[in-house]
């Protein structure tokens, strides 16, 4: 069995059975970006509760299955329209950044590609730079993806303080992958039914663009999504004729290469994690 890392999984929305199934299929670590709850949170204290959940309870729940849990903090792009709330949330984030499972700021980005969303995105980027954090970026979906990804890439490229190798731009598709990779960023392919990328298309992009700086993730959340999307994709990769080494590179080596840029990300041997 090949071990894998799911670097985009909203585990707060998943059951403990999902952790069990992920552990059985070789998952050794997840990283959980801060997400939208399905409704707009009304106060910064609601975010403080959420950040506590992400940094205290969730890593404990994962550890029982030998899965290391890391997280990213932010106010999600779906809530970025509210500038006042964004300012309040940005003010409380620093007090959580030193916690042992926090890798950086994310998933920040754009949703409906509005002026306020872009302003909130830029504020988060500044916060990440100020605290030397890795950045995980959400790009919009469907018809908004192209213009949103372009706005994000152009904003980051015009900031000379950004080191693109410390930024992962997620949810890339066929029409956005090239601009992300050409600017030196990491790119994420999201295996999400209906609105994102199927395993077949993700593998196509890996074949065409090569495996360098490319990762796959489930992005499982409270919507119709699959916590086992990565092992499903690994099965498709084998069926397509790819070697164990190629698969390992995509699902394990690549995410650990990107995440290891944070000194907090350290993969423990599985047996050790289970014994703890």
């Amino acid at each position: 069995m090949i071990n894998y890392i799911d670097l985009h999984a909203h585990m707060v929305s998943r059951t403990t059975d999902d952790y069990h199934a992920m552990a059985l299929t070789g998952c050794v670590a997840v990283t959980e970006p801060a997400f939208w709850a399905g409704y707009d949170r009304v106060s910064a204290s609601a975010f403080a509760d959420y950040f506590k959940h992400l940094t205290e309870f969730e890593p404990q729940r994962a550890a029982k299955y030998g899965i290391q849990h890391y997280t990213w903090l932010c106010l999600n792009p779906k809530e970025g329209e509210d500038r006042e709330l964004a300012r309040e949330v940005l003010a409380i984030i620093p007090q959580f950044l030193e916690r042992p499972n926090v890798l950086g700021i994310g998933e920040i980005g754009l949703n409906r590609v509005t002026r306020n969303e872009l302003a909130t995105f830029i504020d988060h980027v500044e916060l990440a730079l100020e605290h030397n954090q890795l950045i995980h970026i959400h790009t919009p979906h469907l018809e908004d993806k192209y213009k949103g990804t372009k706005a994000i890439v152009e904003t980051l490229a015009s900031n000379s303080r950004i080191d693109p190798s410390r930024v992962l731009v997620d949810h890339v598709e066929e029409h956005t992958i090239r601009m992300v990779l050409e600017h030196g960023f990491w790119a994420g392919l999201t295996l999400y039914p209906m609105t994102k990328v199927s395993p077949g298309r993700a593998i196509d992009m890996l074949e065409i663009y090569g495996t360098e700086r490319l990762c796959v993730a489930s992005a499982c959340d409270w919507g119709p999504s699959q916590p086992l999307a990565i092992p499903n994709c690994m099965f498709e990769m084998r069926r397509r004729g790819h070697s164990q080494q190629w698969i390992h590179e995509v699902v394990y080596t690549n995410p650990s290469r990107f995440l290891s840029q944070s000194p907090k990300f350290k993969l423990a041997p599985l047996a050790q994690a289970l014994a703890d």
Binding site: R112, N116, L142, R201
Partner: protein, 100 residues
């Protein structure tokens, strides 16, 4: 970027592996369009989504590589202006005419 020979399967193998699956998908699309014609009320023949869908189907017929990327662009908002404010949480799947 490598196109030629980047898929490790032969064409014959791809047919054996995936033809039935994609045969089903094309029949589903045909059935969706027939259902659209049989509709109880014809009130959306010029809906921006169905127009983009028909353009995408035409692009599918191309014999040139790059169909997915071209279809993605047909289903995208190609304007570069930021929206003045959020009009809702979800995207529609194709660009409204006013945004192109």
């Amino acid at each position: 970027m490598q196109i030629e020979g980047s898929c490790p399967k032969t064409q014959r193998e791809l047919i054996e592996l995936e033809f039935i699956e994609h045969r089903t998908k094309i029949l589903d699309i045909a059935a969706f369009l027939d259902r659209f014609d049989r509709s109880i009320e014809h009130n959306a023949n010029d809906d921006f989504r169905i127009k983009a869908f028909r353009e995408a189907l035409a692009a599918l017929n191309s014999s040139e590589f790059g169909r997915v990327e071209r279809i993605q662009m047909l289903l995208s908002d190609l304007s570069s202006e930021l929206r003045a404010e959020r009009d809702g949480q979800s995207a529609y799947g194709a660009a409204k005419e006013s945004e192109q």
